[in-house]
Symmetry: C2
Subunit: 605 residues, 2 copies
């Protein structure tokens, strides 16, 4: 699922913002093509999830697919109407975290944030797993290597995102349009077809383990709700639309709802009519594609388009997580570091963390899409519910025209998504939902602890209070650790003389002969600065200097240690230089309170 383009548009390289030029913004149709990818790609696994849930009661139970799909479509309609109101109230977008923070208070916003993080990770995992299923439907030889396919896909996404993608909404349009055409083609051609179904994959037998009771129907319903993930993406991306933004976004949301509903119902009708049951190696969607298009090139093309769209859906998380993390960092709920959204090294942490978590999940479930779906849907439903409740609260506080009517719509949405969430949680608890039940509170705790720490630090630093005036005229001593008399020594002593009231050079030597030679060279150079030589029989460089610094750092002056660094021209030589200086700097910073200064000396080799 996804907050897709909303986040993508906010990414470092593409700071598309409202007002930066209308022509960069989207029309309703463009918005549909660019923002519906996550929601629509859910049809690759949603209907299959229903079928797989029902089939434990035998293939006869599969007739329940259609009514369950109709119930899900009803929920979809409620969500679409409800998100239409979210768009009107939050035209700046921002997603569940921003909404919850504004309307629902601290704890709820932490819940929203935690569920969003879970969501991002699961979007990657589920989309890749479903993508591997689609890929293996086209190439059955890969059926046993789905995990490998997933991990290769993940490595690809990670590499692309580490390099930084110049993403644009428009890149996503073509695959989305192809996907819509392919799926609607399946529905239309499937319905007008009279010849028998083209069978792909190996048949499996399904003995009825249990009867088609109420609980099973609830399970199938909650699994199928995974098809709804992603419908909130448009509401998060209102600023990317062309004016009138709200109207266009609402229209797009409506089109998305209609399209998704049409696809789901159409596929369910085909499943019922053709008695489609799960088969080995191919997905339900691939079976329907084979029924509509035969098993020629169109079948392969459809499966490849589905794979591509799922890969792109996974990719949206890589754009989304850094944005969420920077929002959390600005609220002091994650390390401030992550607030620096434009800094590439920081951005990479998020990419790598996301990739690792998704890889762990994929390996844990052996790339089985349907073991991920319970975990996936819960995070999404938390987000749905919080957005709706926030809106109810908003109406109740602001009381605009017809507020009761509006609150009723959002209240119904909240009730339905809560219900679906609770059903999901109870029916799927042992099948994986427990992971979410543990992970979400742990993350909330983490955010809260980080916030508490920053508050304590702010207290101690006296943030918001005017400090005493700075100390003046304390005087300063600059210590320069040196190994030999050279141009490097000259460079370092010159810089030290500019900075310090007094300068002293210090050398560590294990060998008395070398010590004598150094002292003689120093005397011949005569730079007007004292040289202290420390004896170190055990060939330790760092500890003797630390001891020396601690000895002189007693007299109230500002002490600085100036470490000259030889900087090779080529990065590959870096291991050959600097390392001793860096080691010394690290230890000095950990063990003393002196200023540690690094002075580069650039080589031509």
């Amino acid at each position: 699922m996804a907050y897709g383009l909303a986040r993508r548009e906010l990414r470092p390289r593409v700071p598309l913002r409202p007002g930066e030029g209308e022509k960069h913004h989207l029309t309703s149709l463009e918005g549909l093509a660019a923002l519906s990818l996550d929601a629509l790609s859910s049809v690759a696994y949603g209907p299959e999830a229903i079928v797989l849930a029902l089939v434990v009661a035998g293939t006869g139970a599969l007739t329940a697919t259609l009514p369950i799909t109709l119930a899900i479509t009803f929920l979809l309609a409620a969500l679409v109407v409800s998100y239409g109101q979210v768009i009107a109230v939050h035209p700046d977008g921002g997603g569940a975290y921003a909404v919850a923070k504004k309307d629902l208070g601290r704890t709820t916003s932490l819940l929203a944030a935690a569920s969003l993080v879970v969501d991002y990770v699961l979007t990657v995992a589920v989309s890749l797993a479903a993508g591997a299923d689609a890929f293996a439907s086209a190439f059955p030889g890969l059926a046993d290597d789905k995990l490998a396919v997933c991990l290769i896909g993940l490595a690809l996404l990670t590499a692309v995102n580490l390099r930084g993608v110049t993403d644009s909404a428009r890149v996503l349009m073509l695959p989305t349009v192809l996907f819509i055409v392919a799926i609607l083609g399946i529905v239309v051609l499937g319905l007008i077809r009279s010849h028998p179904v083209a069978l792909v994959g190996t048949p499996r037998s399904f003995p009825a383990h249990e009867s088609l009771g109420f609980l099973l129907i609830l399970k199938a319903f909650s699994s199928g709700c995974s098809a709804l993930t992603g419908v909130e993406a448009i509401a998060n991306a209102v600023p990317t639309f062309r004016t009138p933004r709200v109207r266009r976004a609402q229209r797009t949301e409506l089109m998305l709802g209609a399209l998704l509903g049409l696809m789901l119902i159409g596929l369910a009708v085909l499943i019922r009519r053709d008695h489609v049951a799960p088969r080995g190696d191919v997905t339900v969607l691939a079976q329907l594609a084979a029924g509509a298009y035969g098993t020629g090139w169109a079948y392969y093309a459809t499966n490849l388009i589905v794979t591509l769209v799922l890969l792109l859906a996974a990719n949206t998380s890589f754009g989304g997580l850094p944005v969420l993390m920077s929002l959390l960092a600005r609220d002091h709920r994650l390390p401030h570091l992550f607030g620096l959204r434009a800094e590439r090294p920081v951005y990479r942490y998020g990419v790598v963390a996301l990739a690792l978590l998704a890889a762990v999940l994929l390996i844990a479930v052996d790339a089985d899409t349907h073991r991920l779906i319970p975990l996936f849907a819960i995070g999404v439903f938390i987000g749905f519910t919080l957005s709706q409740i926030g809106l109810v609260r908003h109406w109740a506080t602001q009381r605009p025209e017809r507020w009761l009517h509006r609150a009723l719509i959002n209240g119904t949405g909240a009730l339905l998504t809560t219900l679906a969430g609770v059903i999901l949680l109870t029916t799927k608890f042992l099948e994986g939902a427990w992971v979410v039940v543990i992970a979400v509170p742990l993350m909330m705790l983490l955010f809260a602890r980080v916030e508490r720490y920053y508050t304590a630090v702010g207290e101690e630093l006296g943030l918001g209070r005017i400090p005493d005036p700075p100390d003046r005229w304390t005087g300063s001593l600059v210590i320069v650790p040196l190994g030999e008399v050279s141009k490097l020594a000259r460079h370092a002593v010159s810089a030290a003389l500019a900075l310090g009231d007094e300068v002293v050079a210090v050398a560590v030597h294990a060998d008395p002969d070398k010590t004598r030679a150094l002292q003689e060279a120093w005397d011949r150079w005569n730079p007007g600065v004292r040289l202290d030589v420390i004896d170190s029989p055990h060939r330790s460089l760092v500890q003797p200097i630390v001891d020396y610094v601690q000895r002189v750092a007693q007299d109230g002056r500002q002490i600085a240690v100036l470490i000259p660094e030889v900087e090779p021209r080529h990065r590959r030589y870096e291991i050959l230089q600097n390392q001793r200086g860096l080691l010394l700097a690290t230890v000095l910073r950990a063990r003393t309170d002196v200023v540690v200064c690094m002075l580069p000396y650039r080589l031509s080799v």
Copy 2:
């Protein structure tokens, strides 16, 4: 094999040096117990290597084991006499690298160094693999998990060495004595035994693939020579002996030779008499142990002692590699960093690198001892040969009394080891020896290139020449990047005022409201220092400051950027602080020539 205690004694924590007290030094017998572990442990895989090489010509060919062992023992005798002379000429020890550097010039010493590195890695791998064989002989259930046993053992050694072991020669004495007793017990009890052999392991059939020709005998001979690895350890460790050092060390070398020869011949006689052939799951040594001791507790104890001694043999490399690396670093052939032998972080690099290389080897051969032996023996024979040739050169130059006689002894040793090395290389080229043929020149090239780089840098830095006098009175400007007005700002501005002639504070803000608030707070504080605010709409912190610094760094003054760092009391909070400062420091150091200063501010939280 090993340079064992020689290196261990030189390790960081135990700077045992000649003259530090005679009671710490070893008598001949103590030296034998402490220094022979590597050489003696070779009997766990040497004889087996012969048997495995011969058996491709059918079990009948195994009668050749005894004559081949006698040939190897002859080579051993030559090596022992030869190393007796090495001890006399190099009483300071130092190993093949030091000897080659002194007597044989640059390229040869690089060859010695590279072969030693190969050796250290292979000592770890072979000893662990053979240890796993011995362990699995006691516990046959582990026969399929030898690789896992090896990797667990490797992890154990790595952990112990990362923590730092307080090693002492005396710790090794008890296991060595137990090992000698156990092996001699096998020989003696085996020979006087009249009851039938206790059979362990599953029998295997050996159809004769080839006839027992000359080539096969050469192969078996060269494989068996792996039993000689480690006999140079005593010559490397002369300084650890009690005076008269040379005499004691020579006596120890002689005892080691006698003991090792006795064991090898004894085991070969038993192999011949009892028609011992390779069996599933148990080693040849374990079969002989079962024959001598039966299959009761003594059998288990023997296998466990063998395992332990092999583990300790592997451990010697972890002590040896850092010493070799520091020698190379002092000769400018490895990064100077590694010359800092006493610095723990540096020492850890060597440990981890060694463990990784050994792990790769073990995984590559699936912990099969006998696929490692060709690689192993070649490095060892290079070392043997270079030591002998160096000595021949020494005699020819110095021409002491009876120099021709002495040169003849070492020349014979060199000839025999060269011969064995060439046989090994040609007969085992495709079986793994090619790895060494590639790795050794590559490493020599690496050392040479590092040396060339350091020479060029020395030229550029004017090492050995007296530089111009340092610049004086250039004046200085200290730039302090700040986020808020706080005690941290006060601390940083105070330090900057002590160091700079002029100080300016600089803040980066994305939000105009915050900028205004900061400017107001600054004016109220009024620290007597100018505040420049840089606008950064894209939430980048680093680039705007770098641009600012580059702008002001034009006027010839010494520029320093002083970055205050909040240091949390607990390490676990470090991710919450400093990171922005570190990022800024890293980029400034890479892209500008200014002095980058870090000022710690320690928190109580």
